[in-house]
């Protein structure tokens, strides 16, 4: 017998601190597998966010930087400009990327920085205990929207892939999920493409992963996947929102 599946080299041996059933670990693995398959660990530098994945720097074997809340795209920009031949990725949650860091996000995208952005959208602030996020759904109950997100006062959730795909600087934007083997395979291909684009100098790629937060949603991991399919995917449809990596479109 041969080993057909094992932990990728680009992940360290440190056990994840995430809650049981948290999909962060799946996405970390997909990023690490991609780094392994492209043979780029030695020249990759990742930028961790503030949020649940703040300690991502302990989990990836490549060099890592821990950025301030929302500033990962700016840190990645400085890094990539200094090291144009290295591979630079950010890994950010919805509060980090689409609230406090939206300015940095949009401008890194519109400049077409040749970086890869992995965006985890689980419609909630996990690390701080389940507050309303910029991507929380209308009516969604959170610690800070206890009567459900009221769009009259709290506004509407932001669809990041749709928004960024309007920018000329964006090369590739795809929304994926990791709730099933089939979707994990699609997510893997998308992440690999987003890194490959950078290796080939094609510019800014973002992969939005619609995800879950079983702990703060108050559900089992499997219930959370089902809630995500029933409620999030209609608002955040999966698919490719922009792809000019094979030429203009």
């Amino acid at each position: 017998m041969a080993i057909v599946f094992s932990k990728p080299h680009a992940l360290t041996d440190k056990p994840f601190h995430y809650c049981p059933g948290c999909p962060h670990g799946i996405v970390h693995r997909l990023v690490a597998e991609t780094i392994d398959e492209l043979g780029i660990e030695g020249r990759t530098v990742g930028v961790a966010p503030v949020g649940c994945s703040v300690m991502a720097y302990d989990y990836f074997s490549c060099d890592m930087i821990e950025a301030a809340h929302g500033r990962a795209p700016a840190v990645a920009t400085g890094l990539k400009r200094a090291l144009p031949n290295n591979i630079v990725f950010t890994y950010q949650g919805d509060g980090d990327l689409a609230a406090i860091g939206m300015c940095e996000t949009i401008h890194a995208a519109t400049r077409g920085e040749n970086i890869t952005v992995i965006f985890i959208n689980n419609a909630i602030y996990g690390m701080t205990g389940g507050q309303m996020a910029p991507t929380s759904l209308p009516g969604q109950v959170t610690q800070t929207s206890p009567y459900g997100r009221d769009v009259k006062t709290a506004g509407y959730p932001i669809r990041v892939c749709e928004l960024l795909s309007t920018l000329d600087g964006v090369t590739f934007a795809q929304r994926v999920a990791v709730d099933s083997v089939k979707n994990v395979n699609i997510a893997k291909r998308a992440i690999k493409k987003a890194f490959t684009n950078q290796v080939e100098g094609k510019g800014y790629s973002i992969i939005e992963v619609v995800s879950t937060c079983p702990t703060n949603w108050g559900m089992s991991p499997m219930e959370a996947f089902q809630w995500m399919r029933d409620n999030m995917l209609p608002y955040y449809p999966l698919g490719v929102y922009k792809d000019k990596s094979e030429g203009e479109n």
Binding site: V45, D58, I65, R71, A74, R81, C103, E104, H107
Partner: protein
């Protein structure tokens, strides 16, 4: 030896940064430092460097953090309101033990304040640029030549001590034209950066650049280690110029633009028979405690002259510690004090002695 050229302060400091090996400038327009950015925008593309106009001062300082993490010399420049925005990033740079050059061409505050020269960011620069227990090196030149020299020192010492350094100016110095000689970079030390996050190439464990320490014991230990470095800096890097202090009855303490005015007032006072002198701090952090201290016993009074409501005077009083009277004179809001106004203060102190 390089040749002497006539340059405007803001442009001279930009060219000095390039001479010192800086190829990464991240900025955001704000009066009165825009010439630094404009100069960089013109020069950097010609020499294979990066000039990037960021979306905000917050983004610019975090780009500096990213580039500095990669191990290259990086800088940003701004003016007072912009430095407030950068203070978050400066705290992270300090907490991540990264070098960086931050230029503050000060203007009047608080808030939007005004656009005329000021020194009212002294407290911010020396005591509270961002949250947490940390310091940055703060250099206060008073001539264009010194501005150029201190750019080199700020990069070298920032790299040596792995900490942010600020070049602390005001609109007056930035606009001034004076002859300068650009230093020879080959005479400077080369500082290795094995800590840089520039890709491990399979040859070393992964480097992590971070300011997060969730274990309080670990955070305390990290900060205590950093403060040992600060103690070493305080012991070895204090700088100030002394002018006519040997026999002075009254010593003015003033830095930057206000030191130039104070010097004129000291000269006039001397011509009138009043024994005035000047201590001009060149490093504001570390504050030149030793140089002020050694003058306390031989003089009768101190006068702090600033373009603020009185900020550095606190540090002068801490050093003098009640042994001599310390008074203050300043103008604020963008008004530069005149030599005559300072002379009046000297005369008043002299008359009261």
């Amino acid at each position: 030896m390089n040749e002497r050229v006539l340059m405007k302060g803001n442009e001279a400091l930009a060219e000095a940064a390039i001479c010192a090996g800086c190829r990464h400038f991240f900025g955001y327009p704000i009066t009165p430092q825009t010439e630094v950015a404009a100069y960089m925008a013109k020069r950097m593309p010609k020499i294979g460097g990066t000039y990037l106009q960021a979306e905000s001062e917050i983004a610019a300082i975090n780009m500096v953090l990213g580039a500095s993490s990669a191990g290259v010399r990086a800088m940003t420049s701004s003016s007072s309101p912009g430095i407030s925005l950068k203070s978050e990033g400066i705290s992270y740079i300090a907490g991540s033990d990264l070098p960086a050059l931050i230029v503050n061409v000060q203007r009047g505050g608080p808030g939007l304040g005004g656009i005329q020269p000021s020194q009212s960011d002294y407290w911010q620069a020396t005591k509270a640029t961002g949250h947490g227990d940390f310091h940055m090196l703060v250099f206060a030149p008073s001539t264009v030549q010194e501005m150029v020299d201190l750019v080199f020192d700020a990069f070298d010492l920032g790299d040596k001590y792995r900490m942010p350094a600020m070049l602390f100016l005001d609109g007056m110095l930035g606009q001034m034209m004076e002859p300068v000689i650009l230093p020879d970079p080959s005479s400077r030390p080369v500082i290795e950066k094995p800590w840089a996050a520039n890709g491990h190439q399979g040859k070393r464990p992964h480097n992590i650049i971070k300011s997060l320490y969730l274990e309080p014991q670990e955070l305390e230990r990290t900060i205590i280690e950093r403060f040992k470095r600060y103690d070493h800096i305080k012991a070895t890097e204090q700088r100030a110029e002394e002018y006519l202090t040997d026999d002075a009855d009254i010593i003015i303490v003033a830095y930057g633009a206000s030191s130039r005015i104070a010097r004129s007032a000291v000269n006039t006072a001397r011509s009138m028979g009043i024994k005035a002198g000047l201590i001009r701090p060149i490093t504001l952090w570390p504050f030149p405690v030793d140089i002020i201290n050694k003058n306390v016993e031989n003089t009768k009074a101190f006068l702090s002259v600033e373009m603020s409501m009185g900020q550095m005077v606190d540090d002068v009083r801490l050093v003098v510690n009640g042994r001599r009277p310390v008074s203050f004179f300043g103008r604020t809001g963008g008004i530069i004090p005149t030599p005559d106004e300072v002379l009046e203060q000297i005369k008043a102190i002299n008359g009261g002695m």
